[in-house]
Every structure is written in C-alpha cells, then in structure tokens.
Symmetry: C2
Amino acid sequence: MALSAALLAAAGELTQRVHEGVVARGFADLRPAHGFAFARLAPDGATVTELAAHLGVTKQAASQLVDEVVRRGYAERRPHPGDARARLIVLTERGWACTRAAEEAAAEVVGGWCEVLGEAQVMALWESLAKVAPCGPVRPAW
Amino acid sequence: MALSAALLAAAGELTQRVHEGVVARGFADLRPAHGFAFARLAPDGATVTELAAHLGVTKQAASQLVDEVVRRGYAERRPHPGDARARLIVLTERGWACTRAAEEAAAEVVGGWCEVLGEAQVMALWESLAKVAPCGPVRPAW
DNA sequence: CGAATTGGTCAAGCAGCCTGACCATATAGT
DNA sequence: ACTATATGGTCAGGCTGCTTGACCAATTCG
C-alpha cells in the first residue's frame, strides 16, 4: 500500500531531521537511538531493566548504552531509593538540555507541516495516529 | 511533541506487523531490511549501486545484502542489458511471492485501521502524510 | 533461614556496516 | 585512435552494537 510507504517516509524524515536539529544545537556525540532512551529517562529516570524493555533490547545492550551517555555527561547512575540492587539512571542538566533541543527540533519539523497542511489537518493527523497506534513501540523497529 | 511519538509508534508497529505477517506466510529467513530492498527491486530490477543509494548504505553493504537474498532464492544477478560492467538484480518467482505476502500483510494492518478510523479518515491520513513527506526515505532511518 | 527471583555487570562471539584497495568496463579529452 | 578519468562491482580487514552465557549482589517467598 502507498499509505505504508508514506507513513514510513514521514517517520524516517522526522527521525532524520530531529537528529540533525539536535546535532546542529551542539549535541553531536549522540545517535538517534539515544533519543529513544532519553524519552524513557526524562520523566523520573529509570532502571537499566526498564530501559531495556522500552528499547526492546537486552539488559546488557541497555547497560552499554547507559555507559555511553554517562561517559558523555548526559546522565548518571544513582542508587535506587527503594532497592539496593538497582540503580536509577537520571538525566543530568546536559541531558535535559539535549532533551529540550530535541523537542525544539521536533517542533520545528511539525511547524513546517502546519504550513503545508494547516493546523487543523495536523491535529487530525495526530488524533488518527494516536487511535491507530495507541501504545506502539517508540523505538527503532527495524 | 506527542505527534512525533504517535508517528513513530505507528511506523514501528506497521513495520513490525508486516514483518510478522511475512514470516507467518512462510518467509522466515528475511529481515525487515530486506523488505526495503525488495521495494526498490520489484518494479524492474535495479543495480547494486542504485539499491545502495535507495537504502542509504555503501555499495559493499548493498552487495552483501544482495548476496543473502540471492543465496536464499529471492533474487538473481543478471547481466545488465546496456552496460557490461553492471548487473541487474531482479526478483525470482519466490521474490515476487514474498513481495505479494508483504502487500497482503500491509493491507491487513491498514484494514484494521479502517475499522478503527473509518475509510475516509484513513484516506485523509494518507493524503496528509503524502503531502508532508513527498519523497522521504522509505528505509530504516535510525 | 534457605531457595528461588530479580537487577546488574563481565566476557566472548557474531552480524551488519564501513573504509580502503582493486579490477573491468565505459566515457571524455586531445 | 589512445590515453585518462569516471563508474559499477567485488574482495579484504576492521569496528560497533547487539546477543548469549555466566556470574554476583540484593530481594522476596516458602
């Protein structure tokens, strides 16, 4: 179906342009995959196991990804308040700055869409997508 | 933005379910990435270089991917009619069967969306996406 | 209190992609 | 026509991200 192609094209372009926007704002040492991790870490932090589940990878892979972002100063491992085995991964100030940069870049792209479609159409698009994939995986899927 | 998340979720779910559908129809030795290659090969075949450009990878990676699908009987390398250096990669009958299976699986998913949104909304969704990403990359983007 | 479970890391291996080098054919320059 | 350059494709080697398997520390259940 052509709809499938259009959907994949839009998602690919969004990912690509958000990544470009993040890089342009000075965060060049990150890959798109890190963004998906930040999305899970942002609200209140998360454990490695939770992050692994969110990204659909093994704990080891998630742990390795956390190593990277910690080494680059975007997050830190803290003792978990309620479980001495676990560690709570939380964003640092730099991590939050990067998250805000990603939101700005995303808003820019969506703004461009509003100019093409009109705001009402974009809202309709959003609602349709939300109904169609209520809890789909917000992560690299292929 | 929540729209971004919804879009990525929908694209991820589509990719995943199409792949599941293809596997369920008996083509278990393929990855989603192969599907993006088939999309370029399907109409009239393509050279390795064209395929590489379409997938956004190097010629070497594309050549290796072609090796895999040839070894598994989905495609074959033929001499290129107009250029003795080049080879035209074309789908075999098995390759076409797999392509049809993918289209069936995609139609199933979209059919499910029609039940949720109604056919008119799905058409509107399609048109909006087509306007927004007229020539986005139909390939794994992250 | 011992047994089984869960969170996390360490170690080794593999798959997919990249860079660099190379050959064969095609195209352009003179 | 003949060389020079560009293009299509492959081979070889290396790197990165992810996986499986094993293990330790802390928790929970009997």
